[in-house]
């Protein structure tokens, strides 16, 4: 979120306080006091994590505090994990596999690369999953484990997600 603050004491607090009030977790604050905008305001860039449904309320609160919001960018799925599947991936309904991850809404299959060596041989697939946070990623991996067990696929997880 890019904000523009008046050059007077207490402005940054007015901008940050509502974020924590709505349960947000501030990741970084870039406060550039020496770079004024053409309107004489101070640009501030804030990165934070919070429940997306509360965003509208947050914006209203900030505006009523007299904060100018210049730009908002949303990155809904921040976590990324790569995995490999081996087995009858296509014939065990790959579309269903993807749908079941995507339907969680907190995680989705972002990339899929499949290699099929021969008709009766096992295929391999590289799956990239994005998820909202670390906890959501663990849930998505557990879901994929369950699907792999059910469809008799070998799931190779990355050691990074341990």
């Amino acid at each position: 979120m890019n904000l523009e603050l008046k050059d007077m004491p207490g402005q940054l607090v007015l901008a940050l306080q509502p974020i924590s009030e709505f349960g947000g977790n501030i990741v970084s604050v870039l406060h550039q006091r020496d770079k004024k905008t053409p309107r004489g305001l101070i640009p501030v860039q804030i990165t934070f994590e919070m429940d997306g449904e509360k965003l509208k309320e947050l914006i209203n609160r900030m505006k009523s505090n007299g904060i100018t919001i210049a730009q908002i960018g949303e990155d809904r799925l921040r976590e990324k994990a790569t995995m490999v599947l081996i087995g009858h991936i296509i014939h065990s309904d790959i579309r269903d596999t993807i749908d079941r991850i995507d339907s969680t809404r907190y995680a989705e299959v972002k990339d899929l690369a499949v290699s099929m060596p021969g008709v009766d041989q096992h295929s391999a697939a590289r799956v990239v999953i994005n998820a909202a946070g670390k906890k959501e990623m663990q849930n998505a991996i557990q879901l994929l484990r369950d699907i792999a067990r059910e469809k008799e696929l070998l799931l190779i997880e990355s050691i990074e997600e341990a």
Partner: protein, 337 residues
């Protein structure tokens, strides 16, 4: 000079390799530590070499290479290793019989006999450790003798002694690594050459890297046993083989390795325990620039600690000379204290 009388039980690749290493290193060790290691007995399946005034370990090694240990002047046909352990005037038993993960025998009985006759035990044998760790530990403590098994996990690679001697102040929070050189060799070759599993397995068997029956290695059993030993010895857990989730490498295909590689990963058989949760052995994606991404037949272990952070060691996980490094290290550490 402190004289230490040693029995070597099991005189195969490891046992005879240790005899050779003791012979070659005897002067070095006595000069450096003031300890004189003397082999006074060798136990084999069909008899023993018993010699209270000392055996020329190199001579025994050479006889074994010729398949003629029973031509040794001190050979006693039909004398069992158990009787040797119970009867011999010795300080320490090196137990190097083959691993049996079902019963732990004959190693388990050998170790118990050694403890009960007040002898220290140094071993490379995973079977008894996997099956009866607590019983062995308690029996050793009860008898006031030492029990050391650095060689049972990761061959030459120091792990248990590293934790005990050097990371004493640390709590170990997690352990992960490649604990089986055969699997690492197969996966590395498959990945770099794009060859199928069966092809590389045959090649590994020809080179003597894989056994004629590779099940123990490729199904992850060996890795799981080592993980059990680490869990019990380092993390103070009380687990056995049945408590480990195990998946081997037989399903890994060149296509899977290629897909992993295209995105910057290698596939390795990883043994892992985090925060005393259920131990797991499974093929995993490892980033190519990660410390665990070692190639060939190497082993590697990464310890997650509270003070030191991540500590990673790598080394040769098999081979008679390499393994004897760990066995000698255990022998010296018992007598240096």
């Amino acid at each position: 000079m402190k004289k230490v009388r040693i029995l070597i039980i099991g005189f195969g690749v490891i046992g005879s390799g240790v005899a050779r290493a003791i012979s070659e290193k005897r002067e070095f060790i006595s000069d450096k530590y003031g300890i004189d290691f003397e082999v006074v007995g060798i136990g084999e399946r069909d008899g023993c070499v018993v010699c209270p005034e000392g055996i020329d370990a190199m001579e025994a090694y050479k006889l074994k290479q010729e398949g003629a240990l029973n031509k040794h002047p001190c050979w006693k046909d039909g004398v069992s290793s158990i009787d040797l352990i119970k009867g011999a005037n010795a300080d320490i038993v090196i137990e190097a019989t083959p691993t049996n993960i079902n019963s732990g025998e004959p190693g388990l009985s050998h170790m118990m006999a050694a403890f009960n006759t007040k002898k220290h035990v140094v071993t490379s044998n995973k079977g008894p450790l996997t099956i009866a760790f607590q019983k062995l530990k308690k029996t050793a403590e009860k008898n006031g003798v030492q029990f050391r098994f650095e060689a049972a996990v990761g061959g030459a690679m120091p792990v248990l002694n590293l934790v005990r001697e050097t990371l004493q102040a640390n709590e170990i929070l997690g352990i992960e690594g490649i604990l089986n050189g055969t699997c690492n060799y197969i996966l590395t070759r498959m990945s770099t050459e794009g060859l199928p599993y069966e092809h590389v397995l045959s090649e590994a068997q020809e080179l003597g890297i894989a056994e004629a029956d590779p099940t123990y290695d490729v199904d992850g059993i060996d890795t799981a046993c080592k993980l059990v030993i680490l869990a019990n010895a380092i993390l103070g857990m009380n687990v056995s083989y049945k408590d480990v989730d195990v998946t081997g490498i037989t399903q890994i295909s060149p296509e899977a390795l290629k897909l992993a590689s295209d995105d910057g990963y290698v596939i390795k058989l990883i043994g892992e325990i985090q925060d005393r949760n259920r131990p797991r052995v499974a093929p995993r994606l490892v980033p190519k620039d990660h410390p665990l991404a070692v190639g060939g037949a190497l082993n590697v272990i990464s310890l997650r600690t509270d003070l030191a952070g991540e500590i990673t060691v790598t080394g040769k996980g098999a081979g008679a000379i390499e393994t004897s490094s760990s066995i000698l290290s255990d022998l010296i550490s018992i007598y240096k204290a």
